[in-house]
Amino acid sequence: MTIELREQPLAAPLKAKDFKGKVDPDWCPGCGDFALLRATQMSVAELGLFPHQIVCVSGIGCSSNFPGYFNAYGMHTLHGRALAVATGVKMANQTLTVLATGGDGDGYGIGGNHFTHTARRNVDLTYLVMNNQIYGLTTGQVSPSSSVGMKTKSTPFGNIERPINPITSAIMNGATYVGRGFSGNIKQLVRLIKGAIEHPGFAVIDVFSPCVTFNRDNTYDFFRQRVSPLEDEGHDPSDWKSACERAMEWDERIYTGLFYQDQNVPSLHALEPILEGGAPPVSHVPEAITQEQRDRIVRRMM
């Protein structure tokens, strides 16, 4: 059986607009997610990818509607499960470029267990988290990344729980490419996303994607006053300690950019014994086992 998944259409390299999905986003006007969608479309076009080579897997939430707006294979799965499903896709067909998209509640809350273990395994995925620090689709409740004191419908007296730090969590759990973007800076997002797709391992980009409807605290203005690109700081992304120190800053200055990258850790599929030597994906190998294999198995039972 020949595997022709990489068959290229005759058309010239595609443009960002060619990655526009079948329907227009139903996000609120001004939602930060528009910027990430645009940046992702630009990134895959600039990398010369074609829609059939990409699978975009999401969970549930406003931002998880992303695959419907993006011209590529897509899976709009269950709340919190995007990374588990995406791991299945990537491991069963390692020739695909697999993106996972979702929000902070989806990824850091209900999907937190998968976030930890996907990072640990260094699955070759690009995970784009549209972090708006609120549950938007359920009309405004506290999220795992909401700040202390934030008043929401479920915390009318102010949030008493400390937020997760996605950057240090990702680094500590073993992610090998960890960045942070902001919907107000598409250029930087494109750089981060292209780097993430090209990175052979688990790449996480936490994106400040303001919710203009339910989060009155973490607005575009809030971030514009604070964001500071790491590129301007001479930060060395191979230095995890420095990366974590900078990721801990929040009040006055919030860093964006590539915090951490380790290119020396093989990804899960690169270590998988049955894929050794450039083996074809298990999605496309013949199903039947041979008579010799059958006989060996049965002999061991006798």
Partner: protein, 595 residues
């Protein structure tokens, strides 16, 4: 009772005393002689201590259950002797280490075979020596030449080196010679059939069924009693090109399986009830996205953590109702290990055809039991039918609608990577193109169209899956209805009843959903008295049968103490029902062997 050789050996001791090794050696010796085997291991969730009790029935013909009797009891500790000596009848054997085990009250005619192990081996400190010496005694009692045992020991221990082999052979020989000098062997020695058999567990069979069906992605989280499937898959993964992943939890397992299956790989995962509970949301997602995945639930006694090492048919309703919403699924409960092996291939062809999830209900009795199987009957080349799967570029450049509303409801299924077929699958309701209808305009016409399209897919199911038939006596006084793993034990109970002149027949149900309601109703329409037999308390199958057919049974035989039925439990229940001596209509047998 019945003609021919039929002998049960029980080995009891504490966890950590090495019951598995003599069990394995005996099993291999028996199947190599072409003898049939059915072994059930009663154990607890403990690594050291407790009471492990392996019952190994060996027969010159098929052994559908682990039987009713113990003929030879090997006591590796006093506790075993104290608990079980009373179960031996006249002619039975109790084999034990006389250095530290004392027999108590026993029935007349029991052979007490005490071995002075310290004296025989010259090494009173070697705790495993008694196991090997006992194998020598058992080989002698069964009328085997010592060479048979010697070659079995050599095979078992050869990986550990020559010294281990020769010391084990020496100890076994001492046991054999001591027995020859002191104990009376069986009048009818262990027979031999011409064709050697193979041996497997039900979990081996499930895994092998998957391998034969072309499963290329298997993932799991360890959970008794399903873990054997993971072990088999992991051990054979490289040779067979199966990707095997151990995942962080069963939620991850089920969702990872959905992702892998979506790429076109045949995908399977196994768990037990608690893990299955975590998988349920993903089962619904497989139905909604129309992705075929085989989910195995190896049932154990629940609810909750329940009794992790004990069997029960308690998850039927969990399977029927797994996941929110109203959707099509296949639920099948294989009857035994061989049926479990065959049914996986059947299931994959069905779910590839119908693009829906399947749930296979095994249980501890099948999955962790050890059984003989004729090697010729292990067909690892079943037909593989992938349905309307598109895995290669086919020149089509679209438009492609993943959920095209076809006449049979089944839409061509392209996998990611194929040019010209780009689409999004969604757990939200969607239209033919895969575009969500749930968010902006919840279009009732499209919703109805998609619900009906998915339902229609299984319209020809009944022409592809055989209906259960009535087996046994015509004009029976009583008709027994069971499902899944009780098939074998019911068969043997029927033999016992027939030997007593009771006319009896039965229906053994395997395919549960969609249910052959009409065929089953027809099969039992002429029954004079219908009894339903199941390994649970509330009669889950009875309620299901009543819902599907309107049939109400005349009585029930149920067991829910964690231990499986033995044939006489059912035969006693049938006799009690026939005598009108079952107040409340539910006969619950007593479990005599307490482990």
């Amino acid at each position: 009772m019945s003609q021919g050789f039929d002998f049960s050996i029980a080995i009891g001791g504490a966890a950590g005393q090495g019951i598995a090794t003599p069990g394995n050696i005996l099993a291999r010796m028996f199947v190599r002689r072409g003898l049939h085997l059915n072994a059930y291991n009663a154990y607890q969730s403990i690594i050291r201590g407790g009471h492990i009790f392996l019952t190994m029935r060996v027969r010159d013909r098929e052994a559908p259950s682990h039987g009713d009797r113990i003929d030879l009891l090997l006591c590796l500790n006093q506790d075993t002797m104290t608990r079980h000596l009373r179960h031996l009848g006249a002619g039975g054997y109790a084999v034990y280490n006389a250095d530290n085990v004392t027999p108590g009250e026993h029935q007349d005619g029991v052979h007490l075979c005490g071995m002075p192990v310290g004296e025989l081996t010259g090494d009173a400190k070697n705790k495993l020596a008694q196991n090997t010496a006992a194998l020598g005694v058992i080989a002698h009692v069964l009328g085997l030449d010592f060479e048979v045992l010697e070659s079995a020991l050599t095979l078992q221990f050869q990986r550990k080196g020559e010294a281990v082999v020769s010391s084990n052979v020496a100890v076994a020989r001492a046991g054999y010679e001591f027995s020859s000098a002191n104990f009376t062997p069986l009048a009818d020695p262990l027979p031999e059939n011409p064709e050697p058999l193979a041996v497997w567990t039900g979990n081996d069979a499930l895994a092998m069924g998957g391998a034969a069906a072309g499963v290329k992605f298997y993932c799991a989280y360890p959970m008794s009693p399903s873990t054997g499937v993971l072990h088999w898959m992991a051990k054979n993964a490289r040779e067979l090109g199966i990707m095997v992943r151990q995942v962080e939890d069963e939620i991850g397992v089920a969702n990872m399986a959905v992702g892998a299956a979506h790429t076109g790989a045949r995908t399977m995962c196994a768990t037990s009830g608690g893990g299955f509970a975590l998988m349920t949301e993903a089962i619904g997602s497989a139905a909604m996205m129309e992705i075929p995945v085989c989910f195995i639930n190896v049932m154990r006694a629940g609810p909750s953590t329940g009794v992790p090492t004990k069997t029960e048919q308690g998850d039927l309703w969990q399977a029927l109702g797994a996941s929110q919403g109203d959707f099509e699924r296949i639920v099948v409960a294989p009857k035994d290990a061989h049926d479990a092996f065959n049914c996986i291939g059947e299931v994959f062809n069905l779910i590839d055809r119908y693009q829906c999830p399947a749930i296979v209900l095994s249980d501890l009795l099948i999955s962790e039991g050890t059984f003989s199987v004729p090697p010729k009957e292990i067909d690892m080349s079943p037909p593989i039918e992938r349905g309307k799967l598109i895995r290669e570029a086919n020149g089509d450049s679209g438009p492609y609608n993943r959920y095209l509303d076809t006449e049979d409801g089944i839409s061509p299924r392209a996998v990611p990577g194929v040019p010209g077929h780009v689409h999004v699958v969604a757990t939200d309701e969607h239209d033919e193109e895969g575009i969500l209808i749930s968010d902006e305009f919840t279009n009732p016409i499209k919703r109805r169209q998609m619900v009906e399209k998915r339902a229609r897919k299984l319209d020809d199911y009944f022409s592809r899956v055989p209906a259960p038939e009535i087996e046994g006596d015509e004009d029976a006084e009583v008709t027994l209805v069971g499902w899944g793993s009780t098939a074998g034990v019911i068969e043997e109970a029927m033999e016992q009843l027939q030997a007593d002149g009771v006319k009896v027949n039965r229906v053994a149900v395997k395919w549960i959903l969609p249910f052959h309601g009409e065929a089953v109703a027809e099969a039992i329409s002429g029954a004079r008295k219908t009894l339903i037999i199941e390994n649970n308390h509330s009669g889950q199958f009875h309620r299901f049968l009543r819902g599907e057919t309107g049939i109400t049974a005349d009585g029930h035989i149920r067991k829910y103490d964690g231990e499986p039925f033995m044939p006489h439990h059912i035969a006693d229940g049938v006799r009690a029902h026939l005598a009108g001596d079952v107040p409340g209509g539910v006969f619950v047998p007593d479990q005599e062997i307490i482990v």
